[in-house]
Each structure stands twice: as C-alpha cells, then as structure tokens.
Subunit: 398 residues, 2 copies
C-alpha cells in the first residue's frame, strides 16, 4: 500500500484518468521525498518511461506544484537534465490545535517546513464551541494572510481536537476536558477552505509517521495530554476504526477489578497512567504545568513521584503488552507529554512488555516532536492530501 | 481497499499492463460474486465501457476462467446478451489443515463449493514434521486426483497450522501442541503446486470474511482449539503484523498478577479461557472431545462447568474490551470450538464488553462454520488468489 514515496490514493478509479492522477501523485511524492531530481531519476524511481514522466512533470509545473531549478551541474554523462523540486510558492497546509489552555495554528509548505505560526493562550475548559471556533477562525485568518504574503496559497485546514471525532463529518462525539458532547463543528469552522477535523492523538501519530526519526510503518503511538491518547499506524496508514474511535488505549483494562473509571469500566489504563492518577499517586495537586512538575520532582529524586511514575510505566506496559500481542507492530513510540516523562516511565514499561510479549526486541522509542506533534500532523495532513492527488489542488478563487 | 467485489491487487504496478490485470480481477470478482451476469451488467458494476469489458471477458474465456452460458432469456430491451459465469471446469483451490488429531484436505472451486474432501485421523502430538507432511502429501495427491477427475485443475495449496507462522516463507516459529519449534516446512511440502502456509486462526477468520453470514469487513475473530486463537480483519484484509504474529489474544493480560503462563507472562487470557484452564476450573480431566464434554455437562446444568464457562466468558470479555477499544471493529465473531460453547460464554462476555467499551451496540456473533473454518479458509485463499490476479492462473504443465 505504501512505501518511502508515500501512499498512492487507492480510491482513485482504475481508468486512464485515474491512472494519470495516481502517477501525478507518484511524481509529487518522489520529488517531495528525494528532490531535487532530474526527470530521468524520477522515471527510474517510479518505474515509468522518461517520456511518460515528462508529460506528468509538465502538467505539475503548469499547476505550480513543481519548480524547474535549471540545468544540473555539468560533468555527468548524457544531456544535462533540469532538476525538479516541489514549488516554493505552491500550496501550504494549515494546521490548528484546540488545546485546553491554548489555540495554535501553523502553515507547512510542500517541503514540510513550518512557514507561519500563531498561538493564543486562552482557557477553553467549559467554553462552548462557538466562541472557541470564532477565536480560532481569527487566528487561522492571520496565518493564512501571512502565508499568502510569502507567495504560498493555503490548500486546506485541519483541526486537532482533544476528543473523539466521528469518522465522517465534523462531529465531536465528546471532548471531556473541553466539556463538549455531541458538538457539530460543521457550521462554526472558518469558511473559505476545505476543513477536516480529527482527534489530536491521530494527528500526533501521523506526524510521527511522516516526519519522525523512526521511519516505522507499523507502530502504536501513545501520547498524553490530560488523558491517555493513542493511535495505531498499520502499513503506513492510520487505523481509524468503524466509528473513528480506534486507539482508545486509555480504556484498555489493566486490572479488571480496579478503580471505577468515568467511562463505565473499571481499572482502565487512565486510572493508573493518566496525569490526574499519577499526580494523585504522587500526593501532588494538579497544577498548571503538570508534566513539568512531575519531571522536575522526578529529576530531584522525589521518591513518591518516582514510585508513581514507576506504577504508571508498569500500567502502560501491561496495556501495551495486550496491544502488541494483538497487532505485532514494529515498535511503540511515546509521544506528547509522555515523551518528557520517558526516562522514568520506560524501565517499568519495558520490563512488562519484555516478559509479556513474544518478541522481546520490540523497540520503544521516544518521539522528538513532543507536544507539537498534533499541530504538525494536522498541517502535514493537508500537504499529504495535495501530494496524494495533485490534480485536485487548485488555489481558491480570488 | 475492498468492497463486495473483493480487494483489488494493489501490488500490481500502475502501468497499462497492471491496469489490465486489475481490471481482469474486477471482472472475475464481480462474476464470482454476482454471476451469471451479462457483459453489460458487468460493465455497469465495475464502471468500465462495455467494449473494454468485452475484451477482458474474451481473455478470461480463453484462459478457461469464465464460461459463456448462451443467450439470456428474451423479452429484455436491446440485443440479447450472453450470460457469464465462473468456469465449472476451471481452477480449484486445495486447502489442508494439520490438526492435533487429524489431517484434512479439501478442494474448492471458483463458485466456492467444496468438490472433494479427505480426512485421516492420526495423533500428531510430538510427531516430527517430516512424517506428518509425508502423510499430508499423500492425502493432497488423493484430493488433487479427484479434483482433476471432475475436470478441474488444482491452482495451489494452502496449509493451516496450529501455530505461529513467520510472515514470509514456510517457517513454523512454534506449534506447541504439535511440539514443533522453528520447523521449516519448505522442503517437506508437496512439490508440484505453489504452497502457502498460515496460522489456523488466520484462515478461520478469512473463511468468515469470505463466506460468513455477517458480511463484516472489520472484526475480531476469536476461535479456540487447544489454545485461544484470534485474528483481526480490518478493511476486509487480514492483519498479519510485522512478523506475522498478530492476533495473539490468548496472551493479552487479563489479570496482570494472575497465574504464570508458559509464554513468560502472567494472567494471560489463555490461563482463564483456554480449554485446559476451563476443564481445570470445572474439575474435569482433559478428555478426547473436550468441547463436547463441556457443552454436554453445561447443557445438563452442571454447576461447576457453568461457573467455569462464566469465568472464561468474563475473561474473554475483558481481553476483548481492550481489543475493541484499540481497534473499534464492527463486531466480534466467536468461531472454532468457542462457537459450540457460545450459549454459556456469551452472557458474561457481553456484560464485560458492554460496560468497558464506548459503543454498547457492538454485536458478538457466532460463526456458522465451526471447526471447518480454517480448512475452508485455506482452500478459499487459493481461489481468492486466482480472482485477485487471474492473469497468472495457468494450469500446471503435463
């Protein structure tokens, strides 16, 4: 389904027209991942003739998606080819994150570089979706404006939400830390651009897939903000599940007769490794920067905090053992707030995983993206949509 | 990735030639699933022109994969079309199952009907792979001969094994109930046909996907022979995992401080819901027909057996809650030996699942294939390979 040059849009129909669109996508993915490249090098990489590639490249140059950098340096065998690169003045993906304490928006270009960014600190707990989306829309407008100022054009907006998002449409099933239940964001989103919304853990995992150091195609990504978020990447694709709710590692039973969980179950992972649970186990009050507080105390050797983090690591290891036995992934990645606590979580986590799973050599790695993952994943998802079907990427009117 | 007409072989290259092969596959899947159909009806269903379909159909008739049944009954508008059906004298898939107590082989035609079948009762516990495969080869020869006698030609052989099978090749990593560890079956398999081997739980789940009543594309299939076997079907495809070991539900921790399991973990599902564990909990000795024994005693109202089955159902429910929270499937299917015990397992299983998962309406269904699942899945996998890439299905020489 997928490779280093990215997934091919399997949904495109298998006609001449569909084939052309898939091959346009192959060219874009190849140049984005490995460029600058000559036409001949692109042809070799994707297994098409040079003539076929030239036709596709010409179309992508006309659409403003590829740039011709001029002749390659001499000294090579044969006629000098002109190097191709993704356009520096092409489409940009806008990503946004609705956090409990802040709103963030950024723009990423076809190279994957962040070109604009804006943050607004604001307490969104218990605030209805209308005002939150209104404020977010203003921030999006500001970043879009800055993007256009740099010669780029916004191709779409993706919004990361800390909650369960239904698979189709714009319905937030529940976002407990915002107090949203059954909130349809459809009419509230900024109007001009195509908008998708998704769970922050999903976008965090996608960011790791697309930009992370691991180069894995099959992994479980565990992150934490207030709750435990997780997402599963299989064969280079995000597992969404029938309703869009896959990846609910936080409610995997760790000790089935354990403490009651607001979800209705008992002894769920969140009751042992969620931030509230860890702070409670460490005898601390929930503060503003909870992860910073825990990490600081752990670094100072606070025994109650170290014990609480060991317990959380062990619970994570038990829940992940079940997940690893079921999915047989290449590895596990700790992201989000968990990345900052990894030094104290990992020993207990790896001990449980090692004794409870068949293959002892499964690496647990720590994401380098940290809390930026969901925002970057959202912006990159728009860029990937352009690479997956370049034929449909056209600047908005006006 | 997939629909009612089956998955399209995404691995085929996106060239004219690859497109032709994919479209041959679409025609075969459509006729196999919905035939007899006229060329025009096939064209409508797969979204190609009638002329394009006719070229493909002619090629499939020449290869002996489709039959022309003669003109459709008159009275329809337009020129009468000739109805197409999959060939009654075409390729057949041979499936085999290496069980602990028996060897079974069958042949399935393109219609999905079983055309030949042979069983040999034999105790394979602790028997080395050589003699077992030798005996299996003789049985395969017998079924292949009978298949040819009916005018069909064997297109391949798939073998279901009660153990972990590495993702590529013919290596059985371990099959504890046979006593096989690191057994490479490569040189021991019958020689003339292309052979694949896989875990019995995988083939059982595929049989449910392809022939089951549920028509689900996303489900967890739980079966049991001696151990607990499970397999995950996502988007109509079997989840294999990085090493080929996905679906190890039997070693998902249910009570992390529970009894030690031979796998090295503690409190694995198999320690509560495996046959040995249930018989032990019921105060019974392992007998020959263990499932029959348990079902018989449960039907008589034996309180110790009912309690043991309730405990097993509850453990299954806890382990499946974790799996459902992670994967968000459409449903759960109980197959294999568990199907026969379903009346006594289901109440406790569904109670745990209901209170521990977000969507309470997830159906748990009982497979109608019972213990035949793995054998049928193996034979059908060969037939599906023909439907997925009909261009490569050619009768063996001689």
């Amino acid at each position: 389904m997928s490779g280093a040059d990215g997934p091919v849009t399997a949904a495109l129909p298998d006609t001449q027209q569909g084939m052309r669109r898939r091959n346009l996508s192959r060219v874009m993915h190849t140049v984005a991942a490995h460029g600058p490249l000559s036409r001949a090098a692109v042809a070799t990489r994707i297994g098409l003739t040079r003539a076929a590639v030239s036709t596709l490249v010409d179309e992508l140059i006309r659409s403003g998606l590829l740039d011709e950098l001029g002749p390659e340096r001499p000294g090579r065998v044969g006629r000098p080819g002109s190097a191709l690169a993704v356009s520096a003045r092409g489409p940009a993906g806008l990503g946004a994150e609705i956090g409990v304490d802040q709103l963030t928006v950024c723009a990423v270009d076809l190279h994957g570089e962040v070109r604009a960014r804006a943050v607004r600190r604001t307490d969104n707990r218990g605030r209805p979706p209308g005002p939150v989306l209104g404020e977010l829309g203003a921030l999006v407008g500001q970043v879009a404006e800055e993007t256009r100022h740099q010669g780029l054009w916004p191709a779409g907006l993706a919004v990361a939400v800390p909650g369960l998002v239904a698979r189709e449409g714009h319905l937030v099933e529940r976002a407990p830390n915002l107090g949203w239940h059954g909130a349809d964001l459809g009419g509230l989103l900024p109007g001009e651009l195509p908008v998708t919304i998704d769970n922050e853990a999903n976008f965090g995992a996608l960011a790791e897939l697309w930009t992370g150091a691991g180069h894995h195609e099959d992994f479980i990504h565990v992150s934490a903000a207030i709750g435990i978020g997780a997402a599963v990447i299989l064969d280079g694709r995000l597992l969404r599940g029938t309703h869009g709710f896959a990846g609910e590692l936080g409610h995997v039973p760790v000790r089935p007769e354990g403490p009651v969980c607001p979800c209705g179950g008992r002894g769920c992972l969140e009751q042992y490794a969620g931030q509230e649970a860890v702070l409670r186990a460490a005898g601390l009050d929930p503060g503003e920067d909870r992860v910073g507080l825990l990490a600081g105390r752990a670094a100072e050797g606070d025994r109650a905090v170290l014990r609480a983090l060991r317990g959380a690591g062990s619970a994570l290891g038990i829940a992940l053992s079940g997940a690893v036995n079921l999915l047989d992934p290449q590895g596990v990645v700790l992201g989000g707030a968990l990345a900052g606590l990894a030094p104290w979580l990992l020993p207990a986590l790896e001990r449980e995983l090692g004794r409870r799973t068949a293959t002892a050599t499964r690496p647990v790695t720590v994401s380098e993206l940290g809390p930026e993952g969901p925002l970057l994943g959202a912006a990159h998802s728009v860029v990937r949509a352009v690479l997956d079907d370049p034929a449909t990427a056209v600047p908005a009117q006006g």
